[in-house]
């Protein structure tokens, strides 16, 4: 029983695909990170404009096309959604319960309305598509490229004394450490289980308390790691963003223009369709 529980714990952690990057050589991988970030922003905007089934279908089609082109496995996408199940279920329930309108059926003090169900479906689809779209960005863009793109996009803010390079570097380090810390958590859980700690029994409060022996060592080790990483970076001549060059210099190409144009067209299309009531 302990053994299966152990593996269970590890599997949950492996589901965290946040910040993961799947190297590849597709058009989407090769797009400029700036383009990808802008396209994502346009995509999210369009997603919030989408109201009608037709517009949702259009957005879904775009997403599906992007996934297909990038050759990211659908199973990976779905796996990344798992931690969101609770959020989706909760928002759905709240929407079903609290939307007024034409009642479908009543049960005790609960009245389920047609609009409520529609809203729940809409919002669930919206969350799923939102998250999948964001995954498309992080799955196909290496963290360094991603932060490089962000740094360039936020470049104008430097004039306002915003520490753009530092923010980008912090984000890049955070993304870099996610897999390492997941591995570490896995080890700590195993070690605590080997000493008889139980994480799966008891009520919610007891379960939360049981997390303490995981979190404390994890924090200590994270601080130690951060310290060592900073020393290693200094040893490799890191001295902030001044005079830094890059292995791969970003250059906007034709494909970037096309991707931006296409996403703008989709956004326009969605707005027009919604206004026409289709």
């Amino acid at each position: 029983m302990n053994c299966s529980a152990l593996r269970g714990g590890a599997a949950v952690l492996k589901d965290i695909t946040l910040g993961q990057y799947f190297p590849g050589d597709t058009v989407i991988h090769r797009l400029d990170p700036r383009t990808k970030i802008l396209v994502l922003i346009v995509y999210i905007t369009a997603l919030f404009f989408a109201e009608t089934p037709v517009t949702y279908a259009l957005m879904a089609l775009c997403l599906a096309a992007a996934i297909w082109i990038s050759r990211i496995k659908l199973s990976v996408m779905v796996r990344g959604l798992k931690p969101l199940v609770l959020v989706i279920v909760l928002t759905s329930i709240l929407n079903i319960l609290y939307t007024k309108g034409e009642p479908l059926f009543s049960f005790w003090i609960i009245t389920v309305t047609r609009e409520g169900v529609m809203n729940a479906v809409k919002i669930s689809v919206r969350i799923i598509m939102l998250v999948m779209g964001t995954f498309m960005l992080t799955y196909t863009t290496s963290p360094i490229m991603l932060t490089y793109g962000l740094e360039l996009l936020m470049g104008p803010l430097k004039k306002l004394k915003v520490p753009v390079h530092e923010l980008a570097m912090m984000m890049s380090m955070a993304l870099r450490l996610i897999p390492t810390l997941i591995e570490e958590t896995d080890k700590i859980i195993s070690a605590q289980k080997a000493r008889g700690a139980e994480f799966d029994t008891g009520n919610l409060f007891e379960k939360a308390r049981a997390m303490l022996p995981i979190l404390v060592p994890l924090f200590i080790s994270a601080f130690r790691r951060a310290d060592e990483l900073a020393t290693a970076m200094e040893a490799r001549c890191y001295h902030g963003g001044e005079n830094r060059t890059r292995l791969n210099v970003l250059k906007l190409r034709l494909r970037d223009g096309m991707a931006l144009g296409l996403s703008a067209a989709v956004l326009g299309g969605v707005i027009v369709l919604v206004n026409m009531g289709i």
Binding site: G19, Y21, P23, S142, P143, I144, M145, S172, M173, L175, R176, P179, T180, E183, R225, E228, L229, T231, A232, M233, E234, A235, R236, C237, Y238, H239, N243, R244, T245, R246, L247, N248, V249
Partner: protein, 300 residues
């Protein structure tokens, strides 16, 4: 070859103490010269100050007393810090805490990027460094999916991309399995042999130190012993008193001598040890089981 790479004169260092306690001296007037192109191993038990010494070699720590000159540059000169760190690369114990990117080649590019090397040359340096450590095929991989030995090789490549003249290895194999240790040591020897780099290896493993030109043993912040591996390892008693072991082969010969056998005292590897024993038995005509000795020579 006889240039001085590193010159340390009367180096003292203490870590800032917690409130209410006196600061503990870690280095106490250490004086040392390291020749350019040499391979030096630094031994010492925990707390002998060897890692603190290492961190002085590329200005991560600055002397509290005395001085450290790296290729003629004083580490206390603030404006020389980058130049010093570019010349003296440093590889640490845990590869996970040195790697800055989720992609191998981007990690290797980190140092040249910091130095402001033009992009085409960064590409050149990255490819060269990755080929040197035999990780070129993995350039697009994610480091956390590789083995410990492979990760450490990437960390080494990340340092080599600076094209340093000197590389300090601070217990680079302590967290690795025997196979990873072999891989990393192979690269260290290659670095020395093919690139003529000055190598300083801080280690716990006697077998690793046995292959250096010079072994320095540290004890409570000072150089306790200094000489060729053969000279240093011959002092079995003195090493034991400093809390260190000698290579197993030397230990065996030492014990045999104590039993009154007239064998040479020092052997740095299994082959040399077996050879010495075979010679001894041949000379005395007392061959207990010659074939087994032969097998020993091939084994291990």
């Amino acid at each position: 070859m006889s240039d001085i790479a590193i010159k340390i004169d009367g180096l003292t260092y203490f870590y800032p103490a917690d409130e209410g306690t006196a600061p503990v001296d870690v280095l106490r007037g250490l004086t040392l010269e390291l020749e350019s192109g040499s391979f030096t191993a630094v031994l010492g038990h925990n707390g002998s100050g060897k890692s603190t010494l290492a961190r002085h070699l590329n200005a991560l720590l600055l002397p509290k007393g005395g001085s450290v000159y790296v290729f003629g540059m004083d580490t206390r000169m603030e404006e020389l810090v980058l130049e010093i760190r570019r010349r003296v690369g440093m590889v640490f114990q845990n590869p996970d805490n040195q790697i800055v990117s989720n992609v191998v080649e981007e990690d290797v590019a980190f140092a040249p990027e910091n130095l402001g090397v033009p992009s085409p040359e960064i590409r050149e340096r990255v490819d060269e460094a990755l080929k040197m450590v035999g990780m070129y095929e993995f350039r697009n991989h994610a480091p956390h999916l590789l083995s410990g030995g492979q990760r450490q090789r990437i960390a080494i490549a990340g340092v080599l991309a600076m094209r340093p003249k000197c590389v300090v290895f601070d217990e680079p194999t302590a967290m690795l399995d025997p196979r990873g240790r072999e891989e990393v040591m192979g690269i260290i020897y290659k670095l020395r042999r093919e690139y003529g780099s000055t190598v300083i290896l801080i280690t716990h493993h006697m077998e690793e130190a046995a292959r250096a030109d010079r072994v320095i043993v540290m004890d409570s912040g000072l150089v306790a012993m200094d000489g060729s591996p053969r000279e240093v390892f011959s002092n079995v008693e003195e090493l034991s008193a400093l809390g260190l072991d000698v290579p197993e082969e030397t230990r065996l010969l030492y014990e045999l001598r104590r039993e009154g056998l007239n064998v040479p005292l020092c052997a740095l590897d299994a082959r040399e040890c077996a050879g010495a024993l075979a010679k001894y038995f041949k000379k005395t005509g007392d061959i207990p089981s010659g074939s087994r000795t032969e097998r020993n020579a091939d084994g291990k």
